[in-house]
């Protein structure tokens, strides 16, 4: 499901924190290849609504997904601060449109809380864990594999 099981307790894991649909999330930095400004996409026929289209990333054709739509938080409003996180998961490269990216967090593995809404061990869930930062704000860790690659195909 995710690489989380491979972590040892005292490993330090880095996350990129972001906002999408006005809410705070984070993704593991190992999956992030680069962060770039929004650029015009070419729409794809017969694509799910959350797939905005494809862009040219130095010669590679990569799809762009609206994270907010994926999470069921409605379409991202177009905003100057919108950014695209280019992620690479299972050798697939895609971009996710997010509201903003704020910082990189270094978190010890044992500080990552389990997602209490995930009842069964093997039930698919795109939130693999929870983090608390600074003033008690909660960040949800997104599993991009689950959310972007498997999610839309499952319908």
């Amino acid at each position: 499901m995710s690489n989380a099981t491979a972590w040892a307790d005292d490993d330090v894991v880095e996350f990129v924190s972001l906002t999408s649909g006005g809410q705070a999330f984070c993704v593991e930095i190992a999956h992030v290849r680069e962060i770039r400004r929004w650029s015009e996409v070419t729409s794809l026929p017969h694509a799910s609504p959350s797939v905005l289209g494809v862009i040219n990333l130095r010669g590679a054709v990569i799809p762009i997904v609206d994270l907010s739509l994926c999470l069921g938080l409605g379409p991202s409003p177009s905003h100057a601060r919108n950014v695209v996180i280019v992620a690479s998961v299972n050798s697939r490269i895609f971009g996710i449109l997010v509201g903003s990216v704020s910082e990189i967090l270094s978190i010890r593995r044992d500080e990552v809380r389990k997602n209490p809404t995930q009842m069964k061990e093997n039930e698919p869930n795109y939130i693999t864990g929870l983090l608390t930062v600074g003033d008690g704000e909660m960040l949800r860790i997104l599993d991009l594999t689950e959310l972007v690659i498997q999610g839309p195909e499952r319908g």
């Binding site: 070419t42 794809l44 026929p45 694509a47 040219n56 010669g59 990569i62």
Partner: protein, 676 residues
């Protein structure tokens, strides 16, 4: 080097050797002769045998051995090449190639012709294996006589000595290797080392001298050796072992006939590679990476070109001329890189020669196979993917096209049928033609068969071309009974699918009683596509030129409504169904005020008119796969990057026709008989 990579090298070499072998045999068949030619053929077989032995391919080795024996007899002028011998050694090359393939695919099957060809070869090799061993040595003896007569004049010349250096020899820093190369400069020399006196490790004196060398020479005398080594005087002992003249080893005289049972000398003969062509083996992935990057360079170049063009510089500005140079260089690099992947079709055609021979053998027909344009280069991946379709088509030509000898006599033709395979470039495409001078397509029979199989309704009226194209329909086969060559009805539609998937198409030209020509028209490469850039529903898209018949802007009155959603256009007297491209792709299409129509040819629905908003350009585009990062999109085959850096999707015309048919907005030709 791992065993696997060694094997890989072995098979790559075998491929080259088999190519050289077929090449040589082809030249023999064409009437050429000469020692070099026969030697080249012999060497090819011998090298395969040698290397095959190292990997333990026993079937291969034992067959190659018999084959080699026959070739050796030819080489030694003990066997004259007549038509029958030529036929057998050519068939043997086929069997050998098949054995190599079997070894490569780890298949255990035995080539069907193996036993037959083998016994034919054994017939030529002489019944008992001893015979070929014996005869060449008879030939060999008089040659060896010459040095003997020489020996009588200068008795000391030649012999075998033991060379025993003492410990001081080593202490003074002498090195036996240098000594022998010194001697070799004076005369012929063969050296072997005797380890017998080397003690076990506990008794070994590190400064001691234990090694004894035996040196053998045909022309050195003891005096000469002593003289040459006088700077070593007292440091070694030289004792004569044998006074007899040592016959110079056959190695040194490769032109002399060599018995096939002494593999060592012949091995040396093939140490000089037969092919003067130097080739470089490169991992195709590296080349692909290079091609991709160069594709980017081309795109980047046109982006810069557009940006600079927008600056409104003067025509003769230095920047523009520098940019022009850049453009030129970038194209040059692209062409050069593309040509790395290009490969002549020759090896493919040689394999096809085998296919034809086997098919002719199996059907008992007399077929001459003529190949032209084997130097024509096409993309390497295409070469590989063409093998199966060509095999099918050639077998068909022999099996269905060419008549039996009796049949040919009846229609007043020469008894030998001709199957021609040719390749050439035509306007940016590669054309491969397979033609036979056989009986041609019998359209009545084809139609009747298609009707009988329920592929076509009984009352269908098809044009000649449509009847010919029935051959490519799944499940179609006219052969009354299934032969072991063709006639299973899986051939031609598979051929068509394979070729379409390469971006090519197949056409048929036939004349009843005179023969049939199949033409395969392929793009030069898979990485680049000729496309028409169009705009559809505010999107820029690319249609592959290969599918486009023509573009039209019909008069308004020629566009007629058939149903609420269905239009047809009257084009030169026939109605062509209209498919709105934007709609078929699921784009909400704004009302098209003045659409342009592009007539395209499809497999499933015949001619269609795609309506688009405008046509912008016709250009080569670099194909970018969508599947890696996104997935398959119905109606879209790939994407490309345009001059402005934006992505345009490449339309899959065939899929569009099917999409349109399934959504009901498009054509339905069922009344005509050819249905999606």
């Amino acid at each position: 080097m791992s065993m696997e990579s060694l094997l890989e090298t072995f098979f790559a070499e075998c491929e080259e050797l088999i190519e050289a072998l077929s090449d040589g045999l082809g030249r023999l068949a064409a009437g050429e002769s000469g020692d070099d030619l026969v030697n080249a053929i012999f060497r090819a077989v011998h090298s395969i045998k040698g290397a095959g032995g190292a990997f333990g391919f026993e079937d291969l080795v034992s067959f190659a051995h018999v084959y080699e024996t026959v070739l050796d007899r030819i080489r030694g002028c003990l066997l004259a090449i007549d038509a029958e011998v030529l036929r057998v050694i050519t068939r043997a090359a086929d069997v050998l190639a098949e054995l190599v393939e079997n070894a490569q695919n780890e298949g255990s099957g035995t080539p069907s012709a193996l036993a037959q060809v083998r016994s034919a070869l054994e017939g030529y090799a002489g019944v008992a294996p001893a015979a070929p061993l014996h005869e060449p040595s008879l030939d060999f003896a008089p040659m060896a006589f010459e040095p003997i007569s020489f020996d009588l004049d200068t008795p000391e010349s030649g012999g075998r000595w033991r060379f025993v250096p003492d410990a001081t020899f080593y202490r003074n820093g002498h090195e036996p290797l240098h000594i022998f190369s010194h001697l070799r400069a004076v005369g012929d020399l063969k050296v072997s080392c005797d380890f017998a006196e080397v003690p076990s490790l506990d008794g070994l004196d590190p400064d001691g001298s234990y090694l004894v060398w035996e040196i053998e020479s045909s022309d050195l005398t003891e005096d000469v050796i002593q003289q040459t080594l006088q700077f070593l005087a007292g440091l070694y002992e030289l004792s004569l072992v044998e006074d007899t003249v040592v016959i110079p080893d056959v190695e040194d005289q490769p032109s002399r006939p060599v018995s096939a049972d002494t593999p060592a000398p012949a091995k040396t003969a093939n140490a000089t590679p037969a092919s003067p062509r130097a080739t470089l083996r490169v991992d195709p992935e590296r080349v692909d990476r290079l091609i991709n990057t160069v594709g980017e360079l081309i795109i980047n170049q046109s982006v810069i070109g557009q940006k600079v063009g927008g600056l409104g510089l003067e025509q003769n500005s230095e920047l523009l001329s520098a940019l022009e140079d850049y453009r030129y260089l970038a194209r040059e690099i692209q062409e050069a890189v593309m040509s790395i992947r290009a490969q002549p079709v020759k090896p493919l055609f040689q394999r096809m020669a085998r296919v034809v021979r086997e098919a002719a053998e199996a059907t008992g027909k007399d077929v001459e196979f003529v190949v032209t344009g084997e130097g024509t280069e096409i993309d390497k991946t295409l070469v590989e993917r063409l093998a199966d379709p060509l095999t099918h088509m050639l077998r068909n030509s022999v099996d269905h096209g060419i008549e039996t000898v009796a049949g040919r006599a009846e229609s007043g033709k020469t008894p030998v049928g001709t199957v021609r395979l040719s390749a050439f470039h035509r306007s940016g495409h590669v054309v491969i033609e397979i033609s036979d001078d056989g009986k041609g397509l019998d359209r009545e029979k084809i139609l009747a068969s298609a009707i009988g199989k329920g592929l076509v309704p009984e009352d269908a009226r098809l044009s000649e071309q449509e009847i010919d194209n029935l051959l490519f329909m799944p499940g179609f086969s006219t052969a009354a009974e299934v032969t072991n060559l063709s006639g299973r009805g899986v051939g031609m539609d598979v051929v068509k699918t394979a070729i379409t998937s390469m971006g090519g198409r197949v056409t048929i030209a036939t004349e009843f009683g005179r023969g049939t020509t199949f033409s395969i028209i392929l793009p030069l490469t898979l990485a680049v596509l000729d496309g028409m850039v169009v705009s559809v529903a505010e999107q820029t898209m690319v249609l592959p030129i290969s599918g486009i018949v023509e573009t039209i802007r019909p008069a308004r009155k020629d566009v007629k409504s058939v149903g609420p959603q269905e239009d047809v256009i009257l084009v030169r007297g026939s109605f062509v169904p209209v498919v709105a491209l934007g709609k078929a792709l699921g784009f909400a299409s704004p009302h098209q005020s003045d659409p342009t129509y592009i007539l395209v040819e499809t497999e499933s629905s015949g001619i269609l008119a795609l309506s688009v908003d405008g046509i912008w350009d016709q250009r080569q585009v670099v194909i970018k796969s969508l599947e890696g990062n996104y997935g398959n999109i119905p109606g879209v085959s790939a994407a490309t990057i345009l001059g402005d850096g934006k992505i345009a999707l490449i339309v899959d015309i065939e899929a569009i026709a099917q999409l349109a048919a399934s959504t009901g907005s498009g054509p339905c030709l069922s009344e005509q008989g050819i249905v999606a």
